[in-house]
């Protein structure tokens, strides 16, 4: 069934564009890049149809990558229901975003380079998804980290872009550190990394080991999916072009963490403590990111924090045991979040680079298509009844309530806040009068609008088209939950309340936000500055590490000890030489004195030796 063809097509696209892109015209580059992704999407559809119901995982083995007596790691791929969904999401949304970025990147520099990196990203993401052992997954994991770095730093001539790239890469590396420790521990514990054997041996392993593996995997996932401790890189990642943010920082890469935790459900189900940790981190991130999102003025920053918050929801889903709900929300989130980002991309495109919402407003008339497609996405994300977002979010909230009621209430408040800041952005951008100084904002070309429309359709009806919970029921342990309409009503109510509040504050009476901001000065500045988390990290971690390394390692160790020793030896030799030079005075009598002195020493030595031996 040649599963390897799926990741190999984007790779071919990458190599062709990468090596000969400079000489191709834009059209050829488009054809190669988008073509390879569409082919890969078609191949995915073909394999899924061919595989049929997929009750059991279908896997193919290509070659043995590492072989050291008992421990061996093969390069083998497998497809089961979870992988199928991920493949569809990745290749589907990937191709839409590729089509969109043809228009968006039309008059940007380095055209072929952008598409080469995007294809490379697709290749690594597909390897990650298709991998059937942790090491191959880790290869994909690292690859996507690399591509995110490359794409964030796409405008490498701008300092903040390269800094953001570095930040993203380093923070991801911290997460990967935890992940690799987990892999080592698994090798020690289970002797292999293959999903099947690991999950079959997991129940027998001691709970403490599983907890440790779980927590380390969580650290990796937190790094990649931007959870509480390691989320700081995502907002800065907005420095990259908007399609990148859409593809990598909304739809696919950030979800890798959720996919990985979901994939290792066997470990987590036998490590309740780790599951609890996931849930707590998820809910905390959701609430925390939502509060920051409310005070942001940059349109992409708002959606970045909303991504962090929605990922928090997915982690809650996984944490409370509703794995299928988590993946369901992952899929729906991919649809509307990609749409939101692409929409904001076309808004920025229209305003030729303007990102600050305070410079926008009243765009309803000028770019109607973007406006209304974003309206659909906003409805979906805020959980407006009967949109796909509503379905997946409620599933999670119900599971959270079943697990721990307080989580449900925090989740509901966060849902309200989510609705508020999304519509705040919507109203600030499209309603009121135009505050910018761009004289004629123009609508985006159809090649950008078509994907928007498709995504709008998916975000509204996606939930119904693909019944994920039933589809994944066979793999994951299902939670039998009574259908409690009361809770659903409260959650959707919170969402509507958020929308109403946003409408009142930003359309009805525009003065209110400034009033609130002025009298809640302290809180507002705190939230606006993202709780100074970056500054804290900088002070707590970066400064000491950099300072420490400069002081201790560089000054102390390198210069002090190593150079010190080397130069020291040289200096000592010189000084001794200097002292001995005094001896060569040419004065025969001083020579004689020293000879006599030596003689005395020798005799003393002999005497002592003689005395000793006698």
């Amino acid at each position: 069934m040649q599963l390897w063809l799926i990741p190999l097509l984007p790779l071919a696209g990458f190599t062709i564009n990468g090596l000969f892109g400079r000489r191709f015209s834009k059209g050829v580059v488009n054809a190669v890049a988008v073509g390879s992704v569409l082919l890969s999407f078609a191949w995915v559809l073909k394999t899924l149809i061919a595989l049929g119901v997929l009750n059991t995982a279908y896997s193919e083995h290509y070659f043995t990558w590492i072989q050291s007596d008992a421990f061996s790691v093969g390069c083998d791929m497998s497809v089961d229901r979870l992988t199928a969904i991920m493949l569809l999401v990745v290749t589907g949304i990937g191709s839409l975003i590729h089509i969109y970025s043809i228009g968006y990147m039309a008059h940007e520099g380095g055209y072929y380079r952008f598409f080469a990196y995007m294809n490379l990203f697709m290749f690594f993401m597909l390897v990650l998804v298709l991998a059937s052992n942790y090491l191959l997954l880790f290869v994909g994991w690292e690859g996507v980290g690399l591509c995110s770095y490359l794409l964030i730093g796409f405008y490498f001539d701008k300092k903040f872009a390269t800094d953001a790239g570095n930040k993203a890469f380093i923070v991801n590396r911290i997460g990967d550190f935890g992940f690799s420790l987990a892999i080592f521990y698994m090798v020690r514990q289970f002797g292999t990394l293959d999903f099947g054997t690991v999950f079959s041996k997991a129940p027998a392993a001691p709970e403490s080991a599983l907890t440790i593996i779980g927590l380390l995997l969580l650290l990796g996932a937190a790094g990649k999916s931007a959870q509480i401790p390691l989320y700081v890189w995502l907002p800065d990642a907005m420095a990259g072009p908007t399609p990148v943010s859409a593809l990598i920082h909304a739809a696919t890469m950030v979800t890798a963490g959720v996919y990985m935790t979901a994939r290792s459900f066997a470990i987590y189900t036998h490590a309740p403590m780790a599951m609890e940790a996931i849930a707590v981190i998820g809910i905390a991130t959701a609430f925390f990111a939502a509060t920051i999102g409310m005070a942001q003025n940059d349109i992409k920053k708002v959606f970045a924090y909303s991504t962090v918050s929605q990922l928090g929801y997915m982690f809650v889903g996984v944490g409370v045991g509703a794995f299928s709900a988590g993946i369901y929300h992952l899929m729906t989130h991919a649809f509307f979040k990609a749409l939101l980002f692409l929409g904001s991309g076309s808004v920025i495109h229209a305003l030729s680079g303007e990102q600050d919402m305070r410079q926008m407003g009243g765009m309803r008339g000028k770019i109607p298509w973007t406006c209304w497609t974003m309206f659909c996405a906003s409805l979906a994300i805020s959980g407006f009844p009967f949109t796909s977002g509503f379905l997946s979010k409620d599933a999670i909230l119900l599971a959270a309530n079943h697990h721990a009621p307080w989580m449900y209430w925090v989740g509901t408040i966060t849902a309200g806040m989510t609705a508020f800041y999304v519509f705040r952005a919507f109203f600030m951008t499209f309603f009121g009068d135009y505050r910018g100084h761009e004289h004629h904002p123009h609508e985006s070309p159809p090649v950008m609008l078509v994907p928007l429309v498709i995504l709008a359709g998916l975000s509204l009806a996606g939930g119904y088209l693909f019944k994920v919970p039933e589809f994944l029921g066979t793999i994951f342990p299902t939670l039998e939950m009574p259908e409690d309409f009361g809770l659903m009503a409260i959650a959707s109510g919170a969402g509507l309340l958020g929308i109403l509040l946003a409408y009142v504050m930003y359309v009805a009476r525009p003065g209110i936000p400034d009033a609130i901001a002025s009298n809640l000065r302290g809180l507002y500045t705190l939230v606006y500055n993202k709780y100074f988390v970056d500054e804290i990290y900088d002070a707590a971690v970066v400064k000491p590490v950099v300072g420490g390394s400069r002081l201790l390692l560089w000054k102390g160790m390198d210069a002090g000890i190593i150079d010190g020793m080397v130069n020291g030896v040289g200096a000592r030799a010189k000084s001794i030489g200097g002292a001995l030079r005094m001896l060569q005075s040419g004065n025969a009598r001083s020579y004689a004195t020293w000879v006599a002195f030596g003689g005395v020493l020798v005799i003393v030595a002999l005497g002592v030796a003689e005395g000793v031996t006698r």
Binding site: R589, T593, A596, V600, I603, G607, E610, G611
Partner: protein, 166 residues
């Protein structure tokens, strides 16, 4: 009797040696050195080394010292002028020498407390016949080498000391 002989000539030797060191004029120290060699020759006789005693007088006192006296006379070397007495040398030298002496003495007394007594007839092996036999059998090689050495020394001395005929 032997003790008296030893003491007399030992004291002569030591006094003469001190004179060698103390005298400012080289000729005086040369003569006192001859005195040392003479007294040593007698001590050799006491130790039964007749040939060596005679050789000492003939070779050492008779030839080498004459060379010294010659050089002193030729160079008309005056008394040593006392200048540039570096304090450091005596500071460092004197104790070292005293230490050396004390050490040697201690070493001798300690290592050879039970040394054999020396009297005149004690060892009669020192005669020319015994030395001749040993010299030309066991020590033939050194003998040949020293002969070459002396030849080289003569050549060296001649070359060094001759006036440049220019």
């Amino acid at each position: 009797m032997d003790v008296i002989l030893f003491l007399v000539f030992a004291i002569i030797a030591v006094l003469a040696a001190i004179n060698v060191v103390v005298q400012t004029h080289p000729i005086a120290s040369a003569v006192s050195l001859i005195g040392v060699m003479g007294s040593l020759a007698v001590l050799y006789l006491l130790l039964g080394a007749e040939f060596i005693a005679a050789a000492q007088v003939i070779v050492y006192a008779g030839a080498v010292m004459v060379l010294f006296v010659f050089v002193i006379m030729l160079l008309n070397a005056g008394a040593e002028v006392r200048k540039g007495r570096s304090f450091m040398a005596s500071l460092l030298g004197a104790p070292v020498l005293i230490a050396l002496l004390a050490l040697l003495a201690w070493f001798v007394e300690r290592i050879y407390p039970e040394s054999v007594g020396v009297h005149f007839g004690g060892f009669t092996g020192g005669g020319p016949e015994a030395i001749g036999r040993a010299l030309f059998t066991t020590y033939l090689l050194p003998f040949e080498i020293t002969s070459i050495l002396v030849l080289i020394a003569i050549l060296g001395a001649v070359v060094l000391a001759r006036k440049e005929i220019d």
